[in-house]
Symmetry: C2
Subunit: 325 residues, 2 copies
Amino acid sequence: MKAAAKAHTNIALIKYWGKRDESLILPMNNSLSLTLDGFYTTTAVEFQENLTADRFYLNDRLVEGAEYRRVTAFLDRIRQAAGRPDAFAEIHSTNHVPTAAGFASSASGFAALAAATAKAIDLPVNEQQLSIMTRHGSGSACRSIYGGFVEWEKGIKADGSDSYAVPIAPADHWDIRVAAVILSSAEKKVLSREGMRRTVETSSYYPAWVDSIPDDLAAIKDGIAHKDFEKVGVIAEANCLRMHATTLAASPPFSYWQSTTFSIMEAVQDLREAGVPVFFTIDAGPNVKVLYLPEQEETIRSTLLGIPGVHDVTVSRPGQGVSYI
Amino acid sequence: MKAAAKAHTNIALIKYWGKRDESLILPMNNSLSLTLDGFYTTTAVEFQENLTADRFYLNDRLVEGAEYRRVTAFLDRIRQAAGRPDAFAEIHSTNHVPTAAGFASSASGFAALAAATAKAIDLPVNEQQLSIMTRHGSGSACRSIYGGFVEWEKGIKADGSDSYAVPIAPADHWDIRVAAVILSSAEKKVLSREGMRRTVETSSYYPAWVDSIPDDLAAIKDGIAHKDFEKVGVIAEANCLRMHATTLAASPPFSYWQSTTFSIMEAVQDLREAGVPVFFTIDAGPNVKVLYLPEQEETIRSTLLGIPGVHDVTVSRPGQGVSYI
């Protein structure tokens, strides 16, 4: 009745932006990500006879309140699927995802939790079922089941049974790098979940965003297949800017960027004008992720670290999917 | 055969963004501006018998090349309308519009030039005809014929005869202030004319921009009529952000902003969160214009001057329309 799993976080190159169903976490559009080796969560789950409720420890700290309820509600679905609605677990989870890096630890967290819980309660699941299960905890987490390049198919069914991740290319397909630029001070004024909802409901640019996704996806998958870095970078950066532009047309308008975010975007574009193939992408927050090829490592690191307001840079390579440990 | 005129520049609160006819300078959408007393051009025009070509002095410097040809082509239309195709003029124009302030001196420049030229060549024109004439030199210049709040009606005719400015409220209707924030270094990487064209042709968000204008216009005109500063500011700022968002969805995407632009936007929003009614608007460049009421003058000036990268702040009040001097 015990198991442990490890899952990496991922960065979307084609963004997940907007839900068609808030409670089932079903997206308006397909998205595509790269799983990253530098950031991960390990989670051990043990179902115990004497427990009358789950106990959840995150980084050795007992968690209570809303965060605890989100985890226990997540386990409820798995307990019920396993026919063991009264089985409760002790969960120990460790995040190797610094919050300051602007990655949602929920992605690696729920992927590792789903895998460890299903195995501990002896519920046989394939990766597709695991991806769906994970999606109920956090949308983008469903992509962390697989390593390398991963697409989340939005699906069309009302029950979400066809909304899951599929692998596009494994981690060893292509050694590209992602530098997570950590800002000295990053306050997230608008939560991603609220910003997403406000954009879907009020932004007059949102429908055109959704319509733009199929072309982006087809082109970036072609770029990944042919290891065409310029193509992948151009599409990822444009997709990111198009996503953030939807928030400027929301009512009221808002932006996840800070002035340092903008400085980093400028620095990346300046490097590119100087002939360095490098691109950025930004999730629903002020932090910037920079995409480049291994031979540019030193140029990228030194340039980024020289920008005022940049605290640190952490580099990732393509990472593996969820695994049992 | 001589006359002199003075015209002020203007700042758009509902942006002119995109042409439906490049050669006649016909816009895709109505726009609305405030004429500003702080920035103006004075122009003297004298038709002389001995001249075989126009001579154009700007700030006491003889102008040649493309800038000269733009002016002489502009005079060609007026000469022909006056039935004097062989009359040439000496023109002395003085700009009181610092380039660094990010205002197009073309707005005040062509308005003053049209008025002085028509009078010097004895072509009787009313203000509507003067606005159309001015529009051929520079689109937004057609609004500088009038003082105060001005709307440029896009018109629907192919020949542009119904595309001109109309006065909404005179300069003395309402004492609001506009601070032009001058950046220490402002390079305009994408020219406004080219950026406008690229956006119209490639941005998937552009149609929704055009569709959004009628609601903005109706609301801001109501706000102006009732001197509702909050309403006018909210609409102007949202309209500006919606315009700039179209460029992020262009192909390739681009932005007129710089990191200091973003810092100023943040400072304005921070002031607002602290209870100060203040809003920003930004044209096709990195400079920011800040809207506020007279009683906030000191707060606004000191806050703006304290932002790194801000060189100076120049304050305007509502200005008068074109006049003969």
